[in-house]
């Protein structure tokens, strides 16, 4: 069986700065993997490197056995690699509905956007109440829901989730993480980067620790030094 996502010897960075120093990782179909680690150790860079949003990278990235190392961001989205990024990267001047529909942009999903939208609104009823509202006027928590909801608008082979709790109060962060990790992803794998172990503990299949740009097995201890 080929892994949903396979990363071999990945190095990546920005300009002269090298952030990742040889990452090896394999995520099986339907598997949920957590990446724990402190800020600034490369979690975000790893996720961004997968979808080609870093300055440079070396190594190999395979999606179901096919080489996607040099595929562009938009092409990867069409092939089912969906990033729910830090900072959300939403379209602030567009409505919630348009933001969600944009998540179904890749050809096949577009025709099913209405049923997918209903599905997302079932998951996050708050979005359903605000479909006509401009995203720039939403609260931080609602925006995060919208960003995750946009990612869920297409049936991805792997969802990459970058710190869904960032900048949110503990209550709403827990609510969003619980909802997301409680979903049936219909065979899609999930790779989630999170600083706060408590938010994902027990809801994922296994965890790894990112430290200084390298991945190591998780020791089960909390982040401090």
């Amino acid at each position: 069986m080929s892994a949903a996502l396979e990363i071999r010897g990945l190095e990546a960075g920005y300009g002269p700065l090298s952030v990742l120093h040889g990452i090896d990782l394999s995520v099986a179909d339907g598997e949920r993997v957590g990446i724990l680690g402190l800020n600034g150790h490369g979690k975000t860079t790893m996720l961004r490197a997968i979808v080609d949003l870093v300055d440079w990278k070396r190594g190999e990235i395979l999606l179901n056995g096919e080489d996607i190392t040099h595929a562009t961001t938009h092409a990867l989205a069409r092939r089912g690699v969906v990033l729910m990024p830090q900072g959300d990267a939403l379209f602030p001047g567009l409505t919630v509905k348009d933001n969600l529909d944009a998540g179904a942009y890749p050809g096949g999903s577009w025709k099913r956007r209405k049923e997918r939208r209903d599905y997302v609104c079932e998951i996050f009823p708050r979005l359903g109440e605000r479909l006509g509202q401009v995203v720039g006027t939403l609260s931080g928590g609602e925006r995060r829901m919208c960003s995750i909801g946009r990612g869920l608008m297409s049936e991805a082979r792997i969802y990459l989730v970058d710190e869904p709790s960032l900048g949110l109060g503990p209550g709403i962060a827990k609510g969003i993480c619980d909802t997301l990790l409680g979903l049936d992803l219909q065979g899609g794998a999930l790779l989630i980067a999170e600083q706060n172990r408590a938010l994902i503990d027990g809801k994922i299949d296994r965890a790894l620790r990112m430290h200084g740009g390298e991945l190591a097995p998780d020791t089960g201890e909390d982040g401090g030094h």
Partner: protein, 291 residues
């Protein structure tokens, strides 16, 4: 006063078209298209060729201008946007490249068509002229407003309801977000520049039936369009339409009470004052969104 109002509405239509063309390209792709003037003249010549060789039917001539404008937009995409996208110094290089293309265009027109003025036969003669109070409303003005309304309605519908239209709107908001949902900026660029060109092309025919067409006839509308687009807040489509109205009104009042030679002076004073108070133009007022 009715004269001022009629002139204002007529000019609003034309300035809104040019400014929408400039503003859409800016917000969707992030560059200022200084070959707008050359596209304008090109579309006017295209429509003139259609009118003299194919048919002088109003719909055919207007479509001719719109299609030639859109095609020139696609040409800008091929020759400027695609080669320079993602390169260092992008802002300066696109400015230089579009300015250069504009000179190339002007000289091609001079070479092909000569410096003589070309003129359209009246396009809207089938519309009856009518009076509002003292003011006679010529068919050309009525036709201009109707044609502009139709094109803007069609393009707004396309941008608001189609999949590609959503891609265009997404690109104006976040380049990274657009890439993450699978929108290909390079192919969507053809839609953006095509639509921008269509707006400019229609403006060219509508003004061309009132003034003349000559190789340099696009520069003055481009300057007005830039003023309107800046005043509206580059990138804001609603801002562009509101600014078009303000500029048109300022121009109509100036024409009526000070004379034609004062028009550009008034407009530059207007833009200076607005930008001193509101550096992001009218759009700054419209956007109630959080950063």
């Amino acid at each position: 006063m009715t004269g001022v109002i009629v002139t204002t509405i007529n000019l609003t239509a034309i300035y809104a078209l040019v400014a929408l063309g400039i503003s859409l390209t800016w917000s969707g792709l992030g560059f200022l298209n200084l070959s707008t003037g050359a596209m304008y003249a090109g579309a006017a010549y295209g429509a003139w060729l259609v009118a003299t060789n194919i048919s002088s039917n109003v719909v055919v001539v207007l479509l001719g201008g719109v299609i030639v404008g859109a095609a020139l937009g696609a040409l800008i995409c091929l020759t400027v946007f695609l080669p320079l996208d993602g390169k260092p110094n992008w802002e300066l290089r696109t400015l230089t490249a579009t300015l250069a293309l504009s000179f190339v265009g002007t000289n091609i027109y001079l070479w092909q068509f000569g410096p003589q003025f070309k003129q359209f036969d009246p396009l809207f003669d089938f519309i009856r002229e009518f009076r509002i109070g003292e003011t006679l409303v010529q068919p050309s003005k009525t036709g201009t407003v109707i044609a502009t309304g139709i094109l803007i309605a069609i393009i707004l519908a396309f941008i608001s309801y189609s999949r590609i239209g959503l891609g265009v709107r997404a690109l104006t908001q976040s380049v990274e977000g657009a890439a993450l949902v699978g929108i290909n900026r390079r192919t969507t660029a053809f839609a953006i520049l095509g639509v921008s060109g269509a707006f400019i092309g229609l403006a060219a025919v509508l003004l061309g039936q009132i003034y003349f067409v000559e190789p340099n006839s696009g520069y003055s509308p481009m300057i007005k369009g830039l003023i309107v687009a800046l005043l509206g807040g580059l990138g804001s489509l609603r801002g562009a339409v509101i600014a078009a109205f303000l500029v048109a009104f300022a121009e109509a009042v100036t024409l009526q009470y000070l004379g034609g030679s004062w028009v550009l002076i008034t407009l530059f004073v207007l833009i200076a004052v607005v930008l001193i108070i509101r550096p992001r133009g009218i759009a700054g007022v419209l956007e109630g969104t959080r950063a």
